[in-house]
Symmetry: C3
Subunit: 229 residues, 3 copies
């Protein structure tokens, strides 16, 4: 009873947790040891966060790196989402309900991750990227900035994406891949800037996708060719 | 003398170390600053653990992810093993003597790592995987779940493995690769679900292994072909 | 005024920051929560370091791993450099002015990183490696040990390099790739031990570079061929 008076929200805080100002923590939340919740972070009900995480990071960079302007001015983590250990998440992003984010993953600003999706361990999600519902992004996959990943997509482990056709040599509007509903990308495949992978298309492991892939097709090889026989 | 009475095991603890209940720490152990030892972890003699690690993590997940039942109900780290910084290790796993685990590496539950093996920085070892003795898994390599890696295997940097033929689309008994004694996998190679790489076989860098590779052979390319001329 | 007397250098320290002996911290430095600065680290003026980092790590290893002898006996981080969160950096390395190091990156001993360079999130830089000025090493790229990366080079995301022709099977003088001024390496390309990529040469995404590439050429495929038509 006394305990409920002190902590009516039933929040479990580990040791050495750092909570900055303007942080909202919902009911039945658990925060692991040594985790840092930076200014302005919003954490919904029944959220679990592991140990040694850094949550709500403000973007930074050097002169070589671009600046971003987000529509959201803080990080929102919705209810029932679970976050692993040693994870970094930036501000100005929205993580919806029932998401799982694995250990060592990193999620940049101006990103949204739809409900029920899984982001694997060590996966890196860059800025300005939209990820739909029930998406799986597996371990060590790299989702570049300015990408669109629709619902039910599967991104295999170690998949690599890029968004800069000129590799920093020219001014260019960065554009990541667009993966349509239900597309499946095999492990360690490489996707080039701006390619679209059609609805329910399948990309073989280790393939290099240099142009758009039609819906329902299977594409394999370096460079990837559709429906090989 | 006074110091020996206070700390007869000669344990060096960094600042802000968190030690939960039922943790066993052997003699001459060193634990870095801000490291977290979770409930039930067993640490043998002469073990070194770096800073900001999370050791003994209990598995979690969302509705999309499978559950596991381990035979071991806690984490055992045997004597003379050295663990880097910012490492995560799950419970229900066994890490034998003289193992080295690099910074930022992550090791899941129901895994065993044989004596004298090296797990590189940022390498990710998934659940239900057996790794033999004197194995090298290099930096940023991904060892998928349900894999078998025998003794003396070399897994190059950024190697990628998968265990799900249907990429989440069908029910399927997950099966990772089986790498036999002394097999060597070149950097950034991709291994498909369930493939066997034979004893002392060599896989070229960047190759995609889609079927079993015979012992003592060399396989290269996309897809990998044996003994090319 | 009182505050200036107490902290004349205008240093901002987060909570639970651990600072070991012989650490130099310049003026206008900011250190994030839970970050560890190990013995002998030198931090110049206007440096920013994020949360949960481990800075100034002394090399370690097991019997299988080589030892190194550095010319520098401590870590130097020069002025105006910015370091992200959950980063690990070893001792005996030098990071020059205006460098940016992303979250989860790791930098080993006996390494130098030239002014204005960017090391992406999760990128791993091995020991004995020289990186020039205005270099970009993107997210999750792996720069092996004993590599030379000249000025203005672009290393795409998930690029993989190796330095051991015999994958641990023979004694061999390890030699990483040499990337000459302005070379550009596409995402997820693999570079073999000792290859040279010439000045301003471009390597396509997902290519496997098995031999030297001439200056100003474009090389693509597995294995990579120059100036394909």
């Amino acid at each position: 009873m006394d305990n409920e008076k002190i902590n009516p929200k039933n929040v479990i805080l580990g040791k050495n947790v750092v909570i900055e100002e303007d942080v909202h923590i919902g009911q039945n939340v658990s925060i692991g040891h040594n985790t840092v919740l930076l200014k302005g972070t919003y954490i919904g009900d029944h959220v679990t966060i592991g140990a040694n995480c850094v949550i709500g990071i403000k973007p930074s960079g050097n002169a070589k790196m671009r600046k971003t302007n987000g529509s959201l001015n803080h990080l929102q983590i919705h209810s029932n989402t679970r976050i692993g250990n040693l994870v970094s998440i930036y501000t100005c992003s929205e993580i919806f309900e029932n998401v799982f984010i694995g250990d060592h993953a990193s999620i940049r600003e101006n990103t949204s991750i739809g409900s029920g999706s899984v982001i694997g361990r060590g996966a890196m999600i860059e800025l300005n990227t939209q990820i739909g519902k029930n998406v799986t992004v597996q371990t060590l996959a790299y989702v570049t900035g300015d990408s669109i990943i629709e619902d039910n997509v599967f991104v295999g482990p170690c998949v690599s994406m890029s968004n800069d056709k000129y590799m920093g040599a020219q001014d260019y509007t960065l554009k990541g891949p667009h993966l349509k509903n239900g597309a499946k990308i095999g492990n360690n495949a490489s996707l080039l800037p701006g390619v679209t992978v059609g609805t329910n298309a399948i990309i073989g492991a280790g393939s290099v996708v240099t142009k758009d892939i039609k819906e329902n097709s299977i594409a394999l090889g370096v460079p990837a060719k559709e429906n090989p026989t």
